[in-house]
């Protein structure tokens, strides 16, 4: 039986509750200090399978800006972050871009898509400085 107790700072929202959580065999046995239910879910995830939302940028051809911001649609396993970032770095997409358009499906085998975080219009000529 594996039993682990840890002090955590919840990062679900900016309140940043300080949690004391105990997990045993992949189950949350006890959580203290969380002021909402999401804190308990976070504690279990963080101790058994930590996840993070990854945000980055992707090169754009013909866009109002040379880059478009992107994010994973949902948090991905923390140990996949490096591979996801490497995959995102290789992508080139064409403007126009719609917000939440899929930029890369099932990134790094996570089953989670990378989506655009904003819309971007197409410009025919390079942007004047």
């Amino acid at each position: 039986m594996s039993r682990e107790t840890a002090e955590l700072t919840c990062i679900v929202c900016p309140v940043g509750c300080r949690l004391r959580a105990t997990v045993e065999d992949g189950q949350l046995v006890e959580a203290q200090g969380n002021s909402c239910k999401r804190g308990a879910v976070y504690a279990l995830d963080e101790l058994c399978a930590p996840k993070r939302t990854v945000t980055s940028t992707v090169r754009v051809e013909g866009g109002f800006l040379p880059l478009v911001p992107v994010r994973t649609r949902e948090p991905i396993p923390k140990d996949k972050i490096a591979q996801v970032l490497l995959d995102i770095a290789k992508i080139r997409i064409d403007a126009p871009i719609r917000i939440h358009q899929i930029v890369a499906a099932d990134v790094a085998g996570t089953g989670i898509d990378v989506i655009a975080s904003r819309s971007m219009s197409r410009v025919s000529a390079p942007r004047a400085e």
Partner: protein, 443 residues
């Protein structure tokens, strides 16, 4: 010169300006014009590509650009007119705006109400006085953020961040994810100035060391930064001789605070709060100049955009009420920061509003504390309070006073402490002193 006649003119199309303009229009204002010097709407949100925006207000964890797009759509749907690439040069007491852009030249706008939403700018090297050489490679964190996230340039490969403000923490992670090595984050104060969640996910997750009570005392390099000397500081924030060591790096990012951008506000001649650096405002978000409103970072520096939007809605409603000649009249009560509170905004509350609606007070704690009561005190009596498990200077405290807690009788000069100006004092006191109240009332 073109002249624009409107009910409400808004200066700045970041989160504050967008929400204020949309709300003013929705509350019945006629023509609402929103001006910004940038090429697109959204302000600084466009470069804040990390997530965490909108958790409180929209119950979603959005990135900055998504949060911006939500409120850009709201403003457009409400019928707000926008003027981009337009620089406001002057705002007058008689509610005129002089602006300029490339296509029209000078433009004059005559408004019944003006909302100032210019935001803030970053404190830079001159603002913190770092000795040493003047090589390339010293950037503010927000400038680096724009380079990396919108322009596609990396500011450097080996980075030291001075200051633990949120933008610096966010950039420490962002630059690490883009392949740079962030050697250290240094904070002169004994506690972090950014949100705790950012310390966890931006520094701890990436294995970046945070040195509290440390600062940069020298910058090396002639053409380009080659390194910095750092030292521990004493309780007066002075470097302690003998504690110095060098860190090799090619870039120094500064995340040492934001300064409300109030040149236009000063031109109008309104009263400023020496602590916030922003204008003194009423609970309608009206400055001391009638008809000139302000909201967002131009008033005081926020840590959460959700609170900026809330404050902007209040300003939008206030401006619409003024345009419709339905402003609250009557007596006002002044707010004051008491024990444990660095500042409180708004500064002036209408008794009519305190009777009729929720009045939201934003404040910052002077020091970190646990298990405290945040109290509103009028005439020596606690009229409303709430319990907070933890308060930190980095994280704004909001106290929402429900209607009817302060009645005109209670706030009369006789009851308000003898002075001729009745005041409402907010203070943060240790919970243990007040054992009678159980659980704390939720705002």
């Amino acid at each position: 010169m073109r002249t624009v006649e409107c009910d409400v003119a808004v200066v700045g199309a970041g989160p504050a300006g967008l929400a204020a303009a949309a709300r003013a229009k929705r509350c019945g204002a006629g023509r609402v014009v929103l001006m910004d010097r940038d090429r697109e709407l959204g302000g600084i949100l466009n470069q804040c590509i990390h997530n965490g925006f909108g958790l409180q207000l929209l119950s979603q964890e959005l990135t900055g650009p998504e949060y911006a797009e939500h409120f850009i759509n709201e403003a457009r749907d409400a019928g707000v007119e926008t003027m981009l690439d337009t620089m406001v040069l002057e705002v007058t007491r008689s509610r005129q705006i002089v602006a300029v852009n490339r296509t029209e030249g000078l433009i004059q706008a005559n408004a019944k109400a003006i909302i100032l939403a210019m935001g803030a700018r970053e404190r830079n090297r001159g603002g913190v006085i770092i000795p040493g050489m003047r090589p390339a490679g010293v950037f503010t964190a927000g400038a680096a953020q724009r380079f990396v996230n919108m322009e596609g340039y990396m500011p450097g490969k080996r980075i030291v961040v001075l200051g633990s403000g949120d933008i610096g923490l966010i950039m420490a992670r962002r630059l690490t994810w883009e392949g740079a090595k962030v050697e250290a984050v240094l904070e002169i104060l004994p506690f972090p100035s950014g949100l705790t969640r950012n310390i966890v996910q931006c520094l701890n997750d990436q294995g970046i060391p945070l040195y509290l009570s440390h600062t940069v005392v020298d910058i090396h390099g002639e053409e380009r930064v080659e390194g910095v000397t750092v030292a521990r500081v004493d309780s007066d924030l002075r470097p302690i001789p003998g504690t110095e060591w060098d860190i090799e790096c090619d870039t120094l990012l500064l995340s040492v605070g934001l300064i409300p951008e109030n040149e236009l506000t000063r031109d109008v001649g309104g009263e400023l709060d020496p602590v916030t650096g922003g204008p003194v405002v009423t609970d309608e978000m009206e400055t001391s100049t009638p008809g000139i409103f302000a909201c967002g970072n131009v008033v005081h520096i926020h840590d959460l955009v959700d609170n900026v939007t809330r404050e902007a809605w209040t300003a939008g409603e206030g401006a619409a009420r003024l345009a419709a000649r339905q402003q609250p009249g009557g007596e006002t009560i002044r707010t004051r920061a008491g024990d444990g509170v660095r500042y409180v905004a708004p500064h002036l509350l209408h008794l009519d509003n305190l009777v009729a609606r929720d009045v939201r007070l934003f404040m910052r704690a002077t020091r970190p504390a646990e298990r405290v009561q945040v109290e509103a005190v009028v005439g020596g009596k606690v009229v409303f309070s709430k319990f907070e498990r933890v308060v930190r200077p980095a994280e704004m405290v909001v106290l929402t006073i429900p209607p009817g807690k302060v009645s005109p009788g209670k706030a009369s000069p006789d009851h308000a402490g003898g002075g001729s100006h009745p005041e409402l004092v907010v203070r943060i006191t240790p919970r243990d002193r007040d054992t009678a109240v159980e659980g704390g009332r939720k705002a």
